[in-house]
């Protein structure tokens, strides 16, 4: 498999407290990698390590097949675009001046690239306006413009949709998909908003308390993505009896005293409710549900907790 970025046994301590423990991540070339975790889980710290801003106490980071090194990684850095924490700029300068400055430091001299990047992120009417007068949404867009201006091979985006309105979020999502497809840019995107990552990522890495708990492809999540019928009833014992004996359903689970999940979907919701009612089981609610990434995520985080 062709990996663009790998970390092995990454470890970071702050004053004897391990904030990142044994993180092994693998990002394949050409994919969108969603990096999920609650606030303070260590997402930003790991991303900073990838950008050589923070040095790991032990472990290695390999980008484009080369080890990230204190002094000699300049060529690697040239091929990465990034936003860390939130987009920062020299806010007395205009948006365009900031982009020009970025190109100069990156050693990138394509004059049309600036206009193109501004056009891609749909930032209009920014000329003659200092960045300090930008809204957060505009700064996010400008940040993405800055990250993509040099057509990097790898984009590292830390919470790039924070502070955007729903329309803005959709636009950014489309932009990222487009960059991934058309320019073949590998994207690492972190977020604590599950729904957003779910919609664009190919692979998900879930981190909590500095540990990478799971790394899984969206595809396999979708495969395991069981649908089920959920019944809420007060008369749980009687309901299970009927399900087993009258309806011959064996694949169901009693979650608690009032909640039953039926994973066998051969019988329709209508038939089940009809039989239950005919047998005088009082049904408070019956629903068809989907196990989403959110359930998966919460499952894993809770599982992690109970193990501790």
């Amino acid at each position: 498999m062709n990996y663009i970025l790998r970390t092995t046994n990454l470890l970071k301590k702050y004053k004897d407290k391990e904030v990142i423990t044994d993180v092994n991540m693998s990002i394949k070339k050409g994919e969108i990698y969603g990096f999920l975790g609650p606030n303070g889980a260590g997402k930003t710290t790991i991303m900073k390590m990838m950008l050589n801003l923070i040095k790991p106490n032990s472990g290695e980071i390999e980008i484009f097949g080369e080890k990230l090194n204190n002094h000699k990684s300049y060529e690697t850095l040239k091929r990465i675009g990034s936003i860390i924490e939130y987009p920062v700029f020299y806010d007395k300068l205009t948006g365009r001046e900031n982009l020009e400055l970025h190109c100069e430091y990156m050693g990138y001299y394509d004059k049309n690239a600036i206009d193109e990047a501004i056009r891609i992120v749909n930032l209009t009417k920014i000329d003659n306006k200092a960045v300090k007068d930008f809204s957060l949404g505009m700064k996010q867009r400008l940040g993405i413009a800055r990250a993509i201006i040099t057509k990097p091979e790898l984009l590292i985006l830390d919470e790039p949709i924070n502070g955007l309105d729903p329309i803005g979020i959709k636009e950014i999502r489309d932009i990222l998909k487009m960059l991934n497809k058309e320019y073949d840019i590998t994207i690492l995107i972190s977020s604590h908003i599950l729904g957003e990552v779910e919609q664009i990522a190919d692979t998900i890495g879930i981190i909590n308390n500095g540990k990478l708990i799971e790394e899984v492809s969206m595809e396999s999540i979708r495969e395991n993505n069981t649908e089920y019928i959920e019944i809420i009833t007060k008369d749980c014992i009687r309901a299970t009896y009927i399900l087993e004996n009258d309806l011959h359903i064996s694949n169901f689970k009693v979650i608690d005293n009032t909640l039953i999940r039926i994973y066998d979907l051969e019988l329709s919701q209508k038939d089940i409710s009809k039989t239950l009612i005919l047998n005088e089981v009082e049904i408070e609610a019956i629903n068809r549900k989907n196990n989403t990434l959110e359930d998966h995520f919460l499952n894993i985080l809770n599982g992690g907790k109970s193990n501790v």
Binding site: S82, E85, Y90, E104
Partner: protein, 232 residues
């Protein structure tokens, strides 16, 4: 390196500081003129010879621009940490030590040049003023002027380097206020005293401090490639 300095100048709109230099000069001049008139009213002179005059003006100029330098340091260097733009700057494919060196060099060169220009400007203004007011009795000979020009150059060079000492202190906790306070302490230690009897007029002291300044600025950027970039 020159390119990096150019970018810094562009980034921080350094041209705007020229206004500051002009204002500082006018204030220094105003102070001196006030001193001259004030003492003249009491029939004693603030300074009676050109040697004294130059001593006082250069003390004023040095004090002013050392603090000016500290302000520049907290803008150019500490400010990048404060506003977190350092996180962007240090992901560029450019040697971090060179970036920091470029910043320090801008501060040092700026301080050096503005000290020289201000010394000349204030001295020249007093000379013109003296033509009308005649508060200094002895005549300004070529000898005095030559000696003074050499003095100005040596001292400005030394103090441009001393001005970098606050950068080291400020970098420890990335604090703009400790940068400026260090500068103020240095200024008051070196330039207080009566009629030119100050620490800085013993030439060996500024020169030693200048060497310390150069060494400290090396220390402050030595590990910039190895250390974690921490924002306070």
């Amino acid at each position: 390196m020159f390119k990096l300095m150019q970018l810094e100048i562009k980034k921080f709109k350094m041209r705007g500081n020229l206004k500051g230099v002009i204002i500082a000069n006018l204030i220094i001049l105003a102070f001196l003129v006030m001193g001259i008139f004030g003492t003249k009213a009491n029939n004693e002179m603030l300074f009676s010879s050109w040697n004294d005059t130059f001593l006082v003006t250069s003390t004023f100029v040095r004090a002013t621009f050392m603090i000016f330098a500290a302000v520049l340091i907290s803008k150019l260097i500490i400010g990048e940490y404060r506003t977190k733009t350092i996180n962007v700057l240090f992901t560029y494919p450019v040697n971090r030590k060179k970036i920091m060196l470029a910043k320090l060099m801008i501060v040092a060169i700026f301080t050096f040049v503005s000290m020289i220009i201000s010394n000349i400007f204030v001295g020249f203004s007093l000379f013109i003023l003296n033509v009308f007011m005649n508060f200094i009795q002895d005549s300004l000979t070529v000898n005095i002027m030559r000696k003074e020009l050499i003095n100005i150059s040596v001292y400005s060079a030394a103090f441009a380097l001393i001005s970098l000492i606050p950068a080291y202190v400020g970098m420890i906790r990335k604090s703009g206020s400790s940068t400026i306070i260090t500068a103020i302490i240095l200024v008051s230690l070196l330039n207080s005293g009566n009629k030119g009897n100050t620490l800085s007029n013993i030439i060996i002291i500024p020169i030693i401090l200048a060497i310390i300044g150069a060494f400290f600025s090396y220390l402050s950027i030595k590990d910039v490639e190895k250390d974690d970039v921490i924002n306070f």
